[in-house]
């Protein structure tokens, strides 16, 4: 038990940039409210002078006024972070999420406090090493639709891998349904991809979707590993960001993780509330340990702009303490027609989810995958 009485604050603070809507005066009022809500959440008159006011209460470090909304950078003591995602998210946005017109834009954590956050185990380079693909965008096929029997999913996986895709992932809808039990699916798909790899000499990775209660997720992750899966698909919006973090840090699991945005949408469907896509699809999954983060691409029917995608890619790749860069993973029913655009937009460090329409290509799936990979190779030059 730490000695609370003799505790001294380090003086180190982490910062969160919030976009606050309304006039400058309204935004300044909101900034003060966030300083209070995200820390003591108490009426001013019960906040004692001294340590609580001077150290714990949020502090406005910068304020940039603009017409319809202002940007305020607030700081909090690193001592409020417990080294887990639950507490981080709480200080970031726990109470303020309940008030409209407050949006989390960006998080900055001083390097010393980042020591509690090992982040991605593999990251971009680790994932590239596993597949022996030093440069170029990676392409991932998806096993769908939900309801195909495990043998049919495994056959799809085999064809994707034989056609030269770099990764094959479970659809996020595949859980452990009676018509598609987890263990049967994962064993068959892992085996199918291994068979294709023996034939091609390549190292395609099969990513198994693990969901459920925390203990179930962990058991499934370990099963997937034993069955030969090359990685995991995890939905932190459903299971909690700490479930992702635990799987990423688990020394018995040690598989790369692709995070999926299921249920995280409500953070981004409102322009002036919630969280910026770069935070929720870039910073948070990376901090929690995802090696790649999937999100909906611009111009695909989702409220994500080109600027958002650029900012997500930046958050995935920029220098951030010791956290390895991860792959931005663009998804949204994309086919041949968007390959060149994506390669130009993202450059080499992109994971591209190929839309399921490829299953209906007139050349047949294996050939279609080969044509697709040719298109990527041409486009990425």
């Amino acid at each position: 038990m730490a000695d609370a009485a003799s505790f001294q604050f380090s003086g180190q603070r982490f910062t969160v940039e919030y976009r606050l809507s309304g006039t400058e005066a309204e935004a300044r009022t909101k900034a003060a409210l966030v300083c209070n809500d995200q820390t003591v959440e108490a009426p001013d008159k019960i906040i004692p002078t001294g340590m609580i006011r001077e150290q714990i209460l949020g502090r406005v470090e910068r304020f940039t006024a603009a017409t319809a909304s202002s940007l305020a950078t607030l700081s909090y003591p690193v001592e409020l972070l417990g080294g887990d995602c639950a507490q981080l998210l709480h200080v970031l946005f726990g109470i303020s999420s309940l008030r409209p017109g407050i949006r989390v834009e960006r998080l900055e954590i001083p390097e010393a406090a980042l020591r509690d956050w090992p982040g991605p185990r593999f990251g971009r380079n680790g994932l590239r090493d596993l597949m022996d693909i030093p440069v170029r965008p990676l392409v991932c096929g998806v096993l769908k639709p939900l309801g195909l029997p495990p043998a049919a999913l495994a056959d799809l996986a085999y064809q994707f891998a034989l056609g030269g895709l770099d990764l094959v992932k479970d659809d996020q809808g595949l859980a452990d349904q009676p018509f598609g039990p987890f263990e049967e699916r994962v064993a068959r798909c892992a085996e199918a991809v291994a068979k294709a790899n023996r034939e091609t000499g390549r190292r395609c990775l099969y990513l198994a979707h693990v969901t459920g209660r925390w203990e179930t997720m962990k058991q499934r992750a370990l099963y997937a590993k034993r069955a030969g899966a090359g990685g995991l698909l995890v939905c932190p919006g459903l299971a909690g960001f700490d479930a992702l973090r635990d799987l990423a840090m688990d020394d018995a699991v040690t598989l790369p993780i692709l995070s999926h945005p299921a249920l995280l949408g409500s953070f981004i469907t409102q322009p002036d509330s919630g969280m910026a896509p770069a935070c929720v699809f870039g910073q948070l999954p990376r901090l929690a340990g995802a090696d790649a983060s999937l999100y909906p691409i611009y111009h695909a029917g989702f409220p994500v702009t080109r600027d958002d995608c650029r900012a997500i890619a930046k958050a995935c790749g920029e220098a951030w303490g010791g956290l390895k860069p991860i792959f931005p993973t663009a998804a949204g029913r994309m086919g041949f027609e968007r390959v060149l655009e994506m390669c130009e937009f993202y450059g080499q460090d992109l994971l591209f989810i190929v839309g399921s329409s490829i299953q209906q290509h007139r050349a047949g799936l294996v050939k279609a995958c080969r044509l697709f990979m040719d298109e990527v190779a041409r486009s990425a030059q």
Copy 2:
């Protein structure tokens, strides 16, 4: 391993009511999109005929058109539910959360499928039995502000309990900070409330906030139990709804649970996207096993209306399979001035969070609590 090949659907379906914004035509298009997104999430042409189209794909059961938005009740096969919150939330809103103009209003699960959901262990009556308060609204004080040393928090807890409050809860900001370690705080506060109970002859419950990674939460819950805490405060938005469910179902923990809305706000800050407050603060916590669900009250600066509060209270209390009714728990810096209004609005089955301003009452805290309880008794008649 289940035999996927011989599987037959039961034909039982659960339903979700969505509010879909736009013209009737736009809303109908959205309904079809949700049917697809929330199940197969695949282009129509790759969905085979037969079981997948007939059973798995969402189905529009009812559609009520209106001017600015329509209501569509969609059904999904119960076989998509895995008995855990992650999978339930996924089918409810996983992908559709990413599209603006779609809002979850209400969930209905057939009684047979509810067997996987034991729900609250105590519920309203169980909680009333623990405190020996058969009728009248319950009142809960909050230990804040964050930063007070454990001894000061324990003294607050003692005064609340001595003054006759029914429950005393940790503020959700109290985690395991170096200036306020979890074990020291919980041991001292539980002891302080027990001491007050010996003096009053009453049975005030102290609710300890448990947060962190899943294993940490469970360890903390067990510690709180051993230390004599009377219940737990859990934030499902931070830790995941399955963490709440696991704690509620754990036969070693067996403590009542109050759920807290931290980070769930982004579901409710937009009128036409996200989830209805009655779903996110009523149905979901109850299904996951909370015995009481805290949410911000109307007219307190949050985007929650009187109608929302009425609907939340209904969702907490209405007949729902074998799920016990739970306490709607109204919060939002309320003092004496809102007691009568709350008692009239909610009736007897209310848990009232008393605002921290009571700490500054000129009569002193213990006396103020007694006056407050008198006010509740008068108002609830």
